[in-house]
Subunit: 386 residues, 4 copies
């Protein structure tokens, strides 16, 4: 197999990011299977038609069910709103298609488990869109941990800080509605932190959290995208049904302590997606706003020159080096998607599951739900109990 | 009154810091009451005698009870180990002396309340050693909040990260023994964060925490100071009875959410004492390792130049400017103590209680104890219930 | 015109960067003329054939003269080694093609002037590859200056620091040979700084410089690319005929003072391309390794909160916002090329010369050469005298 | 000898800094000779009397000649304005006193040489006030170079940026008058950079510079200190006779290239005193605004974790550690003076010349003057020719 025919459901922010990754892939990874941008799908025919032309898809459709059952489609890419994920994923699995699904997998742990089960029953490859794993600086952190260079891990602290909701006139976009988005900062931002924790540290055993919706009513939107919305009649408002911020404490299976914070009310932070890990031999600090950098500390450095190093993860020694630009030349947000798809293509070629796959997605969903339960019940929740 | 006679109990790390502040004060604040370094007190006569000579105290003694009752002493400065605070403070109050006490006030909330009561009954001035309040950059943060320039506060997150216990061979110093130190990272480091939260944001209403002692047995020390200890026979070990790390979540009375972490296991962090505050109009970030700087963000900055400003709090517009050095010239850790004593002297001159005083110390102790209870009982604790 | 047929000469590092930009452009700038990747050209047929497949060019050739005269080609993109620029550019002009040429335009000022003259005589559009102008953070700096928000400019200091030549075993690649590359750090890195100075501040009137080749002999390469080379028999060496580092001082026509440094011997700097500007009302600092950020200072900020702001130039208020990703999501090195080509396409559509064009390229070459002369003659050189 | 009687001439900014250092010294360095603050001297009797009381000097006088000849004085500390240095220093030498002189030594190279000669003839100890050498982070840089850990040095670049003259209404203080101050930014700020270069890298062989006075007329002051002045009648102005900014290029005896910039017109920089050194094995970066930190890079770090380390020079492995505060606790500007005086006391005790002494001061003056000549004559000047 040298070419993989793709059908993609969704065409907004994530649809654009995915399309761009598919376009870039054959040029920068010419030895991989070529993703063939065959069909893009969305409910609004005019909009999806425009997207097809703009993003470079051969065809477009508004019928995802028909798409899923087409014989000439190998992989379904699901980046529609979260409440649509499950139905599409299960149908794709039943049709024997591989699929890539944006996070969070579904609105509930139960749904995400059913999606995993469907995929496993069908024997297809499945991947979940935790793209931040694929920043080379994050991959360096992973390597340092895996090689034991940080020693035993004591602390993981992570925060994903945004500020787009601080303005009380920002309208009630779909991401603020529980029935569509599932949750707010927690599922949108916290999910990335939880996956990062799982990827880098391992299983979380118990959690306790705290949530808040600071602004409880917002103007109804006239029209709404994921991250933007045009405000209509300001007189009409509706209730925000998701969290503006969720924080939680966690214990990991390996004894490490975790601290997590996801908020859309951190004024001054456009998208600070950051973590720090402290181990017995060293530490690392990452911030996605400076995604090409990893701060690294080693306890066994010579005693007069100990300090956090600012490592630019663009050297030949780093992941995907040589593929992009010379050392010291930054890559951006979009490259994480290209790397993720390379992993999917490699997995297909090697006939193995890609990582992260739906098992990881379910893990994340389980923690998300454990945190929500801990908020409701105001007590520690064992993750394994869900 | 132009001179205040001081008797100081304690002569190690904090005794040195306090002595230095008393020495510097008349030179940099010549219009204030002069602190007269009269008597220094400690149990080990040889050691305290050497300290008297080194630090510049006129006399020394090993009898704190005699010291406290001397008529020529106006103020008792208590920086002995935490388990000795209460008895000295109560005796000083009963003798009608003003007193300054290092934090944490005592080993228990109950004790600290009795200390406050003794002070109030005696009508003396009392102050507690939350010196970090007195960094000019922190005072700037306070001013921004008080003047409403950050708006409504949504988030307070703070962490005090040290790494001196990562080495498993570090011996069992007194700070690792519950009966002397009261608690570990929580009472030592967390106390500063809690006071900062109270100072900047206000009352905490409820908390839930998590603690860990990562290394449970350590070699017995031959000799022990607060932050250092010489290891004796490595074969003999004893149990660490305090926490290596304590984290907690909090809700403030004004609706803000808080996240706190104090640890001595954050490899690479010698003494990162840091907080961030996000409000509806702006944010600030502080890190004591760069104590002359405050990062400040304003939401109403012109839209194309919004960003965190690195403000060097050494300008004429900042607290204590002109007293020290020209703009751009750093001051250090020790200056926070000088500023704290200036506040105490001003309060005496103006016949008011200094701030922070034992009310603040009790507030801090109450939160410390609420967190400890929440750790034990694994549930949220209302601070006011203690 | 909705489509522009492109013939590109060159297929290595820059060829890849340009190809990627052409591929991305229609997706992110769908309302612009579409660049049609028609023919790629290079001397090595096998290599250029592979590049055509990898980068997505419809055809390939090893005959640039034939390419230049093809009727179906609208624009010639020249990114072959510097010594080939002139002949191709002049031929393209004579054939009536628009052209885009990588910097430096040519090996001499005289050559670059002839290239400009050829372009002007032919009435074609011409652009020069100073891609760093097109980082949104740089464009913000430009806007601040143009709107007078930095006031009168006093200082411009800039440095482009790399370290790939510190290893004495790095072989004698073409970039180290004067007859191919023209000059070393000066023409390669310094040219970018000079253009940035011209773009942001204006004309340089006089200069004095200093150059050094720290390692004067290097192993002959077996095979050589621009930035890499495989070392052959280490016993054979050849002379490095270009500068490893060139620094110079400059006076600008508007009275500002300039300081420039370009070096390949700054250990630890992979590609620090940085400038700072100080004006009577404010200052800016830029570093390409953190290309999404601009540090901005305003003298009229409220007196207690003055400080350099770290502005992430990814907000809606910044250039090309909305085209790429949400606020706070970094873009990378490659995006500067896409933006540059958008400018070229806009200029063609609006029938004006793009900026920067060969006039800018000649300006840069003039300063480069004035500096070289100042180094040779050890005296200040008036730029206008060349 | 256990005590050294000091007579100090000067009582403003530097007088305060020196007094503070003398006060702190016996407490933090109790094993050293004690500096005894005996007499302070200044022209204005009322002001010097107040300073004596504030700073803690036993006596005061307005007659420096009498002071210099007193038998009970061992060391003369000269921090009066620069134009008074020579006469006092020569007299002190002739009276057989050791002396410490602020930089720059004198208004001319010739004068500084005569001062050195007088000191050598008298056989006294002499030291010059290059206090920045004594920041522990700078001392770490020195150690790394001396131990060969940075390898051969290729580049030294340094800049001392201030902004207190950007306001055109700032009056004509003595520091802006050539007959008193000798020069402007060059002698005040540049002198520190030149000394740092000499300390860390070695002799400078040739230089070429560029100077500017951006604002040529300023209001006459009513009263004037060194760094501040009260503006009188704004209608009256006088000419600024010193440089606002001076930049120069340099070659070192060891082959390194140097770049220097001193300016009082760098808006946003209160006192950025910074240097970077690149060697064949590593690099360091220092900025006095973060004076406790040194950025350190090693070329032989493991290839995937190469990067500049932020070393906090407050560890036991660093200079003067243990004397001040625990690791991670910042010291400030004033501590550099204490360290400098410790060096002077040690030199006296060990009967050797302190470092930096007047030989270093003359070296600095020679480069200062070579740069000035290069500015006047618009050509490269060999330092040894002066």
């Amino acid at each position: 197999m040298t070419k993989l025919n793709i059908g993609m459901v969704g065409y907004k922010f994530m649809g654009k990011a995915h399309s761009n990754a598919y376009r870039a892939l054959p040029m920068f990874f010419p030895d991989r299977i070529t993703p063939n941008m065959k069909v893009i799908c969305g409910r609004n025919t005019a909009a999806v038609s425009a997207a097809a032309a703009q993003f470079g898809w051969a065809e477009h459709t508004s019928d995802w069910k028909a798409l899923v059952s087409r014989e000439d489609i190998d992989l379904i890419d699901i980046n529609a709103p979260s409440n649509a994920h499950k139905e599409i994923a299960v149908a794709a699995a039943q049709a024997g298609k591989h699929f890539y699904c944006e996070k969070p997998l579904a609105l509930s742990l139960q749904d995400s488990r059913e999606m995993l089960e469907a995929a496993e029953n069908a024997g297809v490859k499945h991947m979940v869109g935790f793209n931040y794993r694929f920043a080379p600086a994050v991959m360096l952190a992973k390597r340092l941990i895996d090689e034991g260079r940080l020693g035993d891990i004591y602390h993981f602290r992570a925060w994903f800080l945004q500020d787009w909701l601080v303005d009380p006139d920002f309208p009630l976009a779909w991401r603020l509605q529980k029935e569509i988005a599932g949750s707010g900062a927690h599922g949108d931002l916290g999910a990335h932190l939880i996956d990062m924790a799982y990827y880098l540290i391992g299983d979380i055993t118990e959690v306790i959290g705290m949530s808040e919706t600071f602004i409880k009513e917002r103007p109804l939107p006239e029209e709404t995208g994921g991250l933007s919305a045009t405000s209509g009649n300001q007189a009409e408002t509706g209730p925000v049904t998701v969290d503006d911020a969720t924080l939680f404490l966690a214990r990991f299976g390996n004894g490490a302590l975790g601290s997590f914070e996801a908020t859309r009310f951190a004024t001054g932070h456009r998208s600070t997606n950051s973590f720090e890990i402290n181990g017995s031999k060293g530490s690392v600090i990452f911030d996605f706003e400076r995604m090409n950098e990893l701060q690294v500390y080693f306890k066994d450095d010579k005693e007069d020159v100990q300090g956090f190093r600012r490592v630019l993860a663009t050297d030949p020694a780093h992941a995907y080096s040589g593929v992009w630009w010379p050392a010291g030349h930054p890559i951006g947000y979009e490259h994480t998607f290209t790397h993720a798809f390379v992993e999917f293509l490699d997995a297909i070629e090697q006939d193995r599951q890609p990582v992260p796959n739906f098992n990881d997605g379910v893990k994340c969903q389980q923690v998300l739900e454990a945190v929500e339960l801990s908020v409701q019940e105001r007590k520690w929740i064992y993750v394994a109990s869900l």
